[in-house]
């Protein structure tokens, strides 16, 4: 079985387990729902809760233009989308180890390195595609409901791609932790602790430029011109992804796969 075979196997498995569908559905849900919530649902909800509040005061409490709606959506993807993606993908290594299905490709002569690369390529592509597509959908939807205020699609595509890369970082952590703990739920929880923890620490010590969290903060700015910090963050994230993959391969190579 060559790398093409592994990619094919991962694609089929992603379809069979509805993982692709859940990722796309989850992100698109926020992309479509956020503008509607801000424009229609939330004002009515606030009006019913605070009947004496003026419409102006209600509007002040909510996102009032396309840019703030998009920023709200990007924030939601980090806060809630990360949970969806983490628990959707938390089994891609842990479950295979615990169900001993990982041994099948190995016995057909496959290398662990190829297995991991195959998973990252397939799910990474899906994540990049899903975050970028959802960002575009959110842009169009918020533009229709408000106004097309963002000067071009470029900052939005950048934000989508940066979020996609961040999600690949999450994926690499899932693979790394999955190769150690072998339990799906534990893998998911530990991954979330790392994802949220690094973001919190990055903000606290102002080192986001050297962490994957910098991708999210730069993307959310929707800046006309990206900062140099973004490139540092991209470099560091890619390095972390590669290191996580290498450690996972080393771990799997030293693991007794038939052990329960």
């Amino acid at each position: 079985m060559n790398i093409k075979g592994i990619i094919k196997k991962e694609i089929l498995e992603g379809i069979r387990n509805y993982r692709f569908l859940i990722i796309f559905g989850g992100l698109l849900f926020f992309a479509i729902l956020d503008p509607i919530m801000n424009k229609i649902v939330m004002p009515q909800l606030l009006k019913s809760q605070f009947p004496n509040m003026t419409l102006e005061a209600i509007n002040d409490m909510l996102a009032s233009n396309q840019i703030s709606v998009i920023r709200g959506y990007l924030e939601d993807i980090f806060e809630i989308g990360t949970i969806i993606i983490t628990f959707t993908l938390s089994g891609i290594v842990a479950q295979e180890i615990s169900e001993k299905t990982l041994i099948l490709p190995i016995t057909t002569g496959k290398r662990y390195g190829h297995l991991i690369i195959g998973k990252v390529l397939v799910y990474g592509s899906i994540l990049i595609f899903a975050t970028t597509t959802s960002a575009i959908v959110n842009y169009i939807y918020s533009g229709v409901l408000y106004d097309f205020e963002l000067f071009s699609l470029v900052p939005l595509l950048r934000a989508g791609l940066l979020q996609g890369l961040y999600m690949i970082f999450v994926l690499s952590i899932i693979i790394l932790i999955g190769s150690f703990v072998r339990k799906t739920i534990s893998t998911g929880l530990l991954t979330l602790i790392i994802a949220y923890g690094t973001t919190f620490l990055g903000s606290l010590f102002e080192i986001n430029n050297y962490l994957p969290a910098g991708l999210l903060s730069e993307g959310k700015l929707l800046a006309v011109i990206p900062s140099l910090g973004m490139f540092k963050s991209i470099l560091c994230t890619i390095s972390i992804i590669i290191i996580s993959m290498i450690v996972a391969v080393i771990r799997l190579s030293n693991m007794e796969l038939t052990r329960g």
Binding site: F151, V224, I246
Partner: protein
Amino acid sequence: MLCVIIISVVGCIIVGNIGYHDIQLDDGTLYGKFKGNDKDLVLLIVAGSGPTDMNGNSSLTQGRNDSFIQLAKDLSHRGITTFRYDKRTAGRSVDTFDNKDMDFDYFIDDCRDAIKYLKEQGYKKIVIIGHSQGSLVGMMAAIQEPVDGFISVAGSGFTIDTILENQLLPHYDEKSKEIKAIHSLREGTIDTSFDEDHALFSVTNQEFLLTWMKYNPAEEIKKLNIPILLIQGDMDTQVNVDDLKSLKAANSQDESILIKGMNHVLKKVSSEEENVVTYTDPSYQLHSELVPTIVKFINTLK
């Protein structure tokens, strides 16, 4: 794995240093960057007051406005090369200077040395574009080191004591300590009763203001015998149309442009709320009339 870590560290160092030019001075180093490919004419961007870096961002505010980097990029797309530098009080330059005793003349000297550096680099024509306080700094530097043109963007037309008095009077009583401090400065004396952490009238800042208020932009601009363009936005709440009029009155043949809807950080705004937001939001583009106005002026110099 070690390889990946080394590549990552080296990569970050390279990214952090890419494109920087350093101007060595006696008391520190000014770091700057070129943008554009024209080797004949260069536009030197001089930043305004406070710790404003070469991109137009201040360390005093949370967030970027990216006004100068946007300006540099837009101009380079139109074939105009720019050079912008971190002031001695901002960005990368700040750590190389001992900024304990600030003197306004240091900024002028720095700008003059930047002009000399550009001449050493082989540029045949140099035009200064000074923003806010940078307008006066650029003006003074151009008097000392000849250049081929001068653009003042949101440049003040009055001495700093007058500007401060006008800004404070709506909020402070005529007999308040703050207004009295301005009167004292005009007489050349420093009011030592303010705490050292007072934002405006700490003794250190008063000493700096004394070195600044000796220059009257409306008088100094008369000494420039080069083409001048004055640009002002009508949504600017820091420098206003009166400043433009004052500079224009000093030299009636100077070209002056009032851009509708442009604020102090060169963005298009339509409300006071939006005006405030643009200082820390890099998603706003420059006002669409700004760059064409500058390009038109530059083309007359070529």
